[in-house]
Symmetry: C2
Subunit: 303 residues, 2 copies
DNA sequence: TAGAATTACGGAGGACGTAAGAATA
DNA sequence: TATTCTTACGTCCTCCGTAATTCTA
């Protein structure tokens, strides 16, 4: 279970090919073959089916461990490296799309007004936000999702190196303009379980999360939208491809769609701040700006 | 960051000695010294101070990663091994002390009545429960704690290999018999923040958890009780060394102390079932018995 | 039969033990 | 000065590349 072997194991299954994995990792085919053989010998099981290359049941099980393990390993190294890097005026913020709203933009403006700070915001998928923070490619992360009021978002293990802060606001469903339900003051999510939904796991609230949080079946995806582009999602929703759940302030400003608040179940759109154990000075300042406003937390509905 | 190096790094800090770590791991002193040197070279930082042996700041940081990392690695291996082990009539259950109440005992009785199953229950500390399940030394785990009603317990990352089920019941504070507050029908935890508390992190509800869940400071430990022995804790509480929080049904049966229900904040004693992805047949049956009774979940207060 | 994984083999480098050398309490 | 860690060095073993071999779509 040498991490090198795990890394090539993951690469082999990702590429569905020994040779492609080899060139991706800078090895020869032969080395990759030996890695897989060594791993299989070590674990006493066949992990990969060849021709075509695919995971055996045991390999699939290992694939549930290996990427997380490698990420944690890299995170540990990045965490140590952070201890010794020079203090910087640069702030890199990894952000899921719906977490980047007006409050964050304003907090960044205040940060730049108060000191000379170069800012880089990277809008990426939810899992990538975690990855960027853990590996110190970003100084801070902002991750949005849906939860019961004042509950935290369910996050995978972030290790000892990050903590959380949050803001909360109302949720909305976006309907195409003129849709019968777009007239409503509010909707119940459970009434819409059987509607047409767009699954946009990185941009909107993922449908499996809606299912979990509503405790209801339904929310079956008929249309999948990959990427981190809220406007594109709005265009799809406007063209009646399906519904999606977004934070209300953001959804209300989208063209071609009407945002209707979610009334039931009682849920909020929540943003968590992923905060390394040992943040840079600009990161610490932004954390202060984001989590305190007149001594209380930022609420998006305060806008 | 070879796991072998991490393992000796952890052993060195655990033993506060290179030579002790070496003999514990079956290496020579020299090898351990080389391991530490290699790790320090790899990470570009001094990790341990010698004479006396202690962690540097960077080493302390690494110690927040390394044990979890090694556990996850062992967990992955154990998970794969589980796939290929022979079906067994034996059930090993790892259990935190306050999770082992009458409902669990009865479920085990029903299991044994319905089939020939050898049972082994290991009562261990909370962290050890997780460890035993992840490394497949136990088939199932039962872990108790305190949370808001219907909230899950905050658990560290359990990987993809385990899921949870739960039972919930009321909480109580134990007072020495005859204590003025022992007459009450109920108490508010926040009123007791400044009282004398016994910190018994593995047996009762850990004080830091009380602090977190009450959102209040206080609950400062003056007396620490290590081990997994509820009766011993009761003896200490009866002798007026301090208070502790336990599940009500269990606390009510303890000698020398009076159990007073916690009314506020609204909290429950919750038990989570740690369930491997691929459990043995007896484990699956016990899970069924524990999580369903007449189609609903077990509630300890149903007794 | 061509594309792709495996096996054979050799050289370079790494890992660990023995033993001698420094450092600190 | 005794204990404990470090360094030097030799051996063995592992790792990876080249190249020949086997497999299968």
């Amino acid at each position: 279970m040498d991490p090198h072997l795990l890394r090539t194991f993951v690469a082999v299954l990702d590429h569905r090919s020994f040779s492609l994995a080899a060139s991706a990792l800078g090895y020869t085919q032969s080395a990759v073959s030996q890695h897989i053989a060594a791993l299989e010998a070590d674990l006493g099981t066949r992990l990969v089916e060849r021709r075509p290359v695919a995971a055996t049941p045991a390999g699939a099980r290992l694939m549930e461990h290996a990427p997380a393990l490698l990420l944690r390993l890299e995170a540990a190294r990045a965490d140590l490296a952070r201890l010794h890097r020079a203090p910087s005026d640069r702030l890199t913020l990894a952000c899921s799309p719906a977490a980047l709203g007006a409050p964050v933009a304003r907090a960044l403006a205040r940060l730049r007004a108060s000191a000379r700070v170069d800012v880089e915001v990277r809008v990426v998928g939810r899992e990538a936000v975690i990855e960027e923070v853990l590996t110190a490619r970003a100084d801070l992360g902002l991750l949005d999702g849906v939860a019961a009021p004042s509950d935290p978002l369910p996050l995978p293990d972030l290790g000892p190196t990050v903590t959380l802060a949050a803001s909360e606001g109302p949720l909305a469903v976006i309907f195409p303009d003129g849709h019968p339900l777009a007239e409503r003051d509010a909707v119940r999510l459970t009434d819409l379980a059987q509607a047409q939904w767009i699954d946009s796991p990185d941009t909107a609230v993922p449908l499996d999360r809606l299912r979990a949080v509503c405790g209801a079946d339904g929310f079956r995806p008929r249309f999948r939208h990959l990427g981190t582009d809220i406007h594109g999602l709005a265009a799809l929703a406007a063209a009646d491809h399906g519904l999606a759940v977004l934070p209300l302030p953001l959804a209300a400003a989208l063209p071609g769609v009407t945002a209707v608040p979610v009334r039931h179940p009682r849920l909020v759109h929540r943003t968590e701040l992923l905060h390394p154990a040992d943040p840079s000075t600009p990161a610490r300042r932004l954390t202060g700006l984001l989590t305190h406003r007149d001594g209380s937390r930022v609420h998006e509905d305060a806008d």
